[in-house]
Amino acid sequence: KVTGKALTPEQEEELLSRLISADFSLSKARMLVEKIRNEGNSPDVVRKTLLEEAPPVEPLRDDSKPFVAFLVGVNGVGKTTTIAKMAHLYSSRGLRVVVVGADTFRAAAQDQLSLLVEELPVVYVGGERGSDSGAVLFRALEENKDADVFLVDTAGRIHTSKALMDELGKLIRVSKKFSAEYPQEVLLVLDSTQGLQGYRQALSFVKGAPITGLVLTKTDSTAKGGMIFSIWDELRIPLKLVCFGQKLTDIDYYSPEKVVDSIAG
C-alpha cells in the first residue's frame, strides 16, 4: 500500500504488478502507471487516476414500462442467479415482474430458476427442456401484457459459438415483435474470477448483439475486475450491476468508488 510520498521505481513496479494482478490488461496497466507517474506519483493520484479511467455510472434503462432485459454470457458466470436477484430487486419495489426461463438447453435450468424465485411475488414463464427458447419468450410477452418488468435468462454458451449469436439474434427479433424498444437492456454477465477473458468475451458478444451493459459477478471473491476498464475504453460498455454472493440480496448498482477502492487497496 503506497503511503504519502512520490512513487519510487520499486513502488511503480509494485503498482504495475498490482494492476496486472487486478486483471488489468498489460497495455492498460502500463498506461495507468505512465499517467500516474506524469501526474506526480502519490496515493491520491493513484485513486484519482483510476476514478478518471473507470467506467462512468450509467443507470439501467428501466424507466420505460414495460422494461425488458436479457442476461447473456458464457457458462456458469451467474446469469440465472442474477436474474433471481433482479427479480427480487424489482418485485420488492411493487413492480409486476415476469421471469422468463429461456434456457431450454441445460439440465435442470428450469428447476433452478423457478426454485430461486418461487418465494417472490413474480410470474415465472418457462419451457420444456429442448423446446424453442423463442417460443418461451413469445409466450411470456404475449400472456403478460400488464407486466412492468421482463427478466430473460438465457443459456450459457462459449462466446465464440455462432449458434449462440444466432439464438440471441432470434430472441431479440421475437421481442421486437412486441415493441421496437425491446429489449432496453442486453446485459453481458461477466464472472470477475475470469479476469481478462471477460474482456475477450465482450469483444465476441458485441459482434452478435447490442450489449448495453455489464454485470460483474462473484466480486465476493478476491478478483478485482480490472478488465472492465478496457471494456469501457474500447467498447464503451458500462458496468451497471455488481454481485457479491449467492443470496438474492447480494446485488447492487455499480459504484466507481467501490471498485477503485478495492483495487487501490
Binding site: 496486472i20 458464457v74 441445460r106 439440465a107 428447476d111 433452478q112 462466446h159 474470477t193 479476469g195 478478483a223
Partner: protein
C-alpha cells in the same frame, strides 16, 4: 495458446547461430510479458522465469538456439502441467472421487463426464449428489446421470451432506466408483473450506479432483493455493477448455497445486471430455 506464442517469440532466433547470455536475458524478458498476456498468474510467471533462468545456458551453435529455447521452455511447461494417469482405486471396495472447486466451474457437468468416461472403461459408476446449497443441484446431477446411463444417489439431507449415509453406502456398495459432486465454494469462504476439509478427512477419498475453469484470470494461483491447503487435492480437471485460447490458468493451478492436469472438458456434452496430454490434446489449451 501459450505454445504458439512461445513459438512466435522463438522464431526471431531462427537466424542465429549461437545463443549468448544477453540473448537469454532478452528472451526471458519478452517471455515474461507473453506469459502475463496468456493469463498466467504473476507469481507463477516470476517463479517460472527464475527456473528457466537457471536452466537456460548460452549455446555455441551445436544445437539451433531456437530449438534449444523451445525444448527447454516446452519441457518446463509440460512438466508443470503433468498429464493423465489412471485414477487411484480402493483395493478394499468402493473408490471415492470428490469433485471440488469454485461456483460455476463445471463440477456437476464434469461428474457426469468423468462417470461416463469411467463407465466406458468398464467401471460401475454412481454419481453422488453432495451439494446441499444449489437450487436443483441434485436434480441437475440426476438428469445428467440418467442421460449417460449412470447410477445416481443423493446424499443431501436437510441442507447438509449426510456423511454417515455416504459411509454406509460405501460399505455396502457393489459399484466400483462413487463420484461425489460437492458445492461450489470460493477460496475465501472459510466455513465452506472447513466443510471441505471435514468431508475429505471423514471420507478419505481416493482422489480429490479440483475442477478449474480454464478461463480463470489472475486469481487462479490463489484459488489453487487455498484448495491445496484445504484438502489433499490429487488432480486437476480443466473445464471449458473450449472457451479459452490462452491457457494461463491451467499453468498457474498446476504449478501452485503441484498436481497434474488429468482431464480436459471441451464442451457441454458428456462426450466432450478427454484425458489430458500436454503435447496433443492440450493443443486446445497450449495452442
Amino acid at each position: 495458446g501459450i505454445a504458439r506464442r512461445v513459438q512466435g517469440l522463438v522464431s526471431s532466433f531462427r537466424s542465429k547461430g549461437v545463443l549468448t547470455q544477453e540473448d537469454i536475458n532478452k528472451f526471458l524478458s519478452d517471455l515474461r510479458w507473453l506469459l502475463i498476456e496468456a493469463d498466467v498468474s504473476l507469481i507463477v510467471v516470476n517463479d517460472l522465469l527464475e527456473r528457466l533462468r537457471e536452466k537456460l545456458k548460452p549455446q555455441t551453435g551445436v544445437v539451433s538456439p531456437a530449438d534449444y529455447l523451445l525444448k527447454v521452455v516446452f519441457g518446463e511447461i509440460a512438466q508443470i502441467l503433468g498429464s493423465y494417469r489412471p485414477l487411484a482405486t480402493n483395493a478394499r471396495g468402493l473408490s471415492i472421487y470428490m469433485l471440488v472447486g469454485l461456483q460455476g466451474s463445471g463440477k456437476t457437468t464434469t461428474a457426469a463426464k468423468l462417470g461416463f468416461f469411467l463407465k466406458r472403461k468398464g467401471k460401475s459408476v454412481v454419481l453422488g449428489a453432495a451439494d446441499p446449497y444449489r437450487p436443483a443441484g441434485a436434480e441437475q446431477l440426476k438428469v445428467l446421470a440418467a442421460e449417460s446411463g449412470l447410477y445416481f444417489e443423493s446424499f443431501v439431507d436437510q441442507g447438509s451432506v449426510n456423511v454417515n449415509r455416504i459411509k454406509e453406502f460405501a460399505k455396502k456398495s457393489l459399484h466400483d466408483v462413487l463420484l461425489l459432486d460437492t458445492a461450489g465454494r470460493l477460496h475465501v469462504e472459510a466455513d465452506m473450506l472447513k466443510e471441505l476439509t471435514q468431508l475429505s478427512q471423514l471420507l478419505s477419498p481416493q482422489e480429490v479432483l479440483l475442477v478449474v475453469d480454464a478461463m480463470l484470470g489472475q486469481e487462479a494461483a490463489d484459488i489453487a493455493r487455498a484448495f491445496k491447503d484445504t484438502a489433499p487435492v490429487t488432480g486437476i480437471i480443466l473445464s471449458k477448455a473450449d472457451g479459452d485460447e490462452r491457457g494461463g490458468a491451467a499453468l498457474s493451478v498446476a504449478y501452485v497445486s503441484g498436481v497434474p492436469v488429468l482431464f480436459m472438458g471441451t464442451g457441454e456434452h458428456v462426450s466432450d471430455f478427454e484425458p489430458f496430454v500436454p503435447d496433443e490434446t492440450a493443443a486446445m489449451i497450449l495452442g
